[in-house]
Amino acid sequence: MALDTAPATDVEIVDERRPRDFSRLPWTSFVIITVLVVVAVFAPLIATHSPTEQSLPDKLKPPAWQEGGSTEHVLGTDMLGRDLFSRLVYGARVSLTVAMFALLSGGLIGLAIGIVAGYVGGRTDSVLMRVVDATLTFPTILIALLLAVSLGAGLRTIVLAITVIIWARFARVVRGEVLGVKTRDFVALARVHGCSDLRIMAIHIVPNVMNTFMVLLTLHIGFVIIVEASLSFLGAGIPPPTPSWGQMVADGRSHIASAWWLAALPGAAIMLVVLAFNLFGDWLRDWLDPRLRQV
């Protein structure tokens, strides 16, 4: 007997929020992300000082609104007298560059592997998924640290390290999507038509998992920024003097008692940006591909 017609119970199961609510744009996220991108692109025009120029007489100046601060250094200076505001501005560049390259490489590798696993199936699929499972349960940040030490820190190393961390997440979700797509009629039709497997994957499957892929990319921007910041904090990110937010927090840690702004402000920047990207990602997911909500 179906219990679907059960009488109303004392717990009200509220309906999913209606689509109309979901289509409300996340304006706060848009604004933060736009500001971030503008700041990163036009960093040299926005920064008031050079991000790497040291000036020991000006060291550890507080932000302008605090006693002893001046408008010369709006957010104060660090232990080497470098302007914090300018370093934050250039740090945005580093975060976005790393995130962009890492997501593209990790995402595309995951996309390719997910499509092959899902489409080919059989033994290929089970082997690939074993590798994915092993990667997902393994603390991949250890591999990232190993890479940083053996290959030397730098943009290429950190992109490679983050690729190792994220590809499996993409592969697993994309594979699931492909399993659904490949049973559709147009794939069978393409096969009857004599299309090669490669062509079917590239021309017929890829466009149909694009929505999922875009949503995954967006949902992972925040994650990648945090990973980059954590690696930089651990001394395995972009090497100094190039300013990166994670490394700025690490540097500020030893001055936390006397100069709170050095660690607090870059950390707040990370949080704000990650928050904005995550909310944007959630919104995009609900709009393009609500089934992914469980991921």
């Binding site: 509220v14 074993r130 603390p139 640290l145 053996s150 651990l234 500020g252 990370i270 949080m271 469980q294």
Partner: protein, 305 residues
């Protein structure tokens, strides 16, 4: 069941061997591993000497055999910084990390299960919204930064809690909060969606039709079943904690294996880093193996999948 255990055991071993090979290869891909060990002002003679001492003047396959033999017998090289066998250094520090991770995990579970449950039961109300906000904020906050902010507020400004190193019970407060917060956000949302799913099943509806009280339905019928998928994630949670412990221990100068990992990176102590990574891998894989076996035992469907 036996076949399942053997198969999973073999899988873990394969992962471990691959990892060991990757570590071996990485040290050689980029040139000679001796260069990772030598100070920058080393002379040619020093280099030759070290090459001989480490056996790096031998052909690669001989080196690999020696390395694997060492790995099996528990000899993973000597830490440069501590001038002791790397494995020994690791085991000296391990209990400190286990204490931290254990408390953080227990705390995170104790906080996130009730919160997730409440959010599911009172879905769409202010409770759900607030817990949703906590989760969103928690995911966006880098844990190294949270740790520093906690130190600033509770150690420096208020002077209530110690900010670094081990000591009495108070020393555990800030590090475990930092490490646990890392988990609470995700775990809470997981419990919530899992409970929501269970609340929609027929056996919960049946329990309601039978006229059982809300408390019994929620605690006895819904929560118990909702926790099964959460338990299976224990392995993943553990891996997350091992990762999180690196950052947390660094912030709080906690003398555990996480901090050891950081030191190995900072001082470019390659033998130590390699040992730490392999040992951590063994622990994480072991925990995952146990969880999987337990799960297969509890739920026979897994065994035949």
């Amino acid at each position: 069941m036996q076949r399942f255990i053997v198969r999973r055991l073999l899988q873990s071993l394969v992962v471990l061997v691959v990892l060991a090979l990757v570590i071996f290869a990485l040290a050689r891909v980029t040139g000679n591993p001796a260069d990772l060990l030598l100070p920058e002002d080393a002379t040619r003679d020093d280099r030759e000497h070290l090459l001989k001492a480490l056996g790096l003047d031998r052909p690669v396959h001989e080196q690999l055999a020696r390395y694997l033999k060492g790995a099996v017998t528990g000899d993973l090289g000597t830490s440069i910084r501590y001038r002791k066998p790397a494995v020994e250094v690791f085991f000296e520090r391990l209990p400190n990390t286990l204490a931290l991770v254990g408390i953080a995990l227990a705390g995170a579970v104790a906080v996130s299960i009730p919160l997730g449950l409440l959010a599911a039961v009172y879905r769409g109300t202010i409770i759900d919204r607030v817990s949703g906000m906590i989760a969103v904020l928690g995911i966006a906050t880098p844990s190294f930064w949270l740790g520093i902010v906690l130190i600033y507020v509770f150690s420096i400004q208020l002077g209530w809690l110690p900010s670094a190193r081990m000591g009495g019970p108070l020393h555990y407060v800030l590090p475990t909060i930092t490490l646990g917060a890392f988990l609470v956000a995700g775990l809470m949302r997981l419990v919530r969606s899992s409970v929501l799913e269970v609340l929609d099943t027929e056996y919960v509806k049946l329990a309601r039709i039978k006229g059982l009280s809300q408390t019994v339905v929620i605690w006895k019928h819904a929560l118990r079943n909702a926790l099964i998928p959460v338990v299976t994630l224990f392995g993943v949670l553990f891996a997350l904690l091992v990762t999180g412990a690196i950052v947390t221990e660094t912030v709080f100068a906690w003398p555990g294996v996480g901090r050891l990992t950081y030191e190995a990176v900072i001082f470019r102590d390659y033998p130590l880093l390699q040992a730490v990574i392999l040992m951590k891998a063994i622990i994480v894989l072991g925990v995952n193996l146990c969880v999987d076996i337990l799960y297969a035992y509890l739920d026979p469907r897994v065994r035949y999948a």
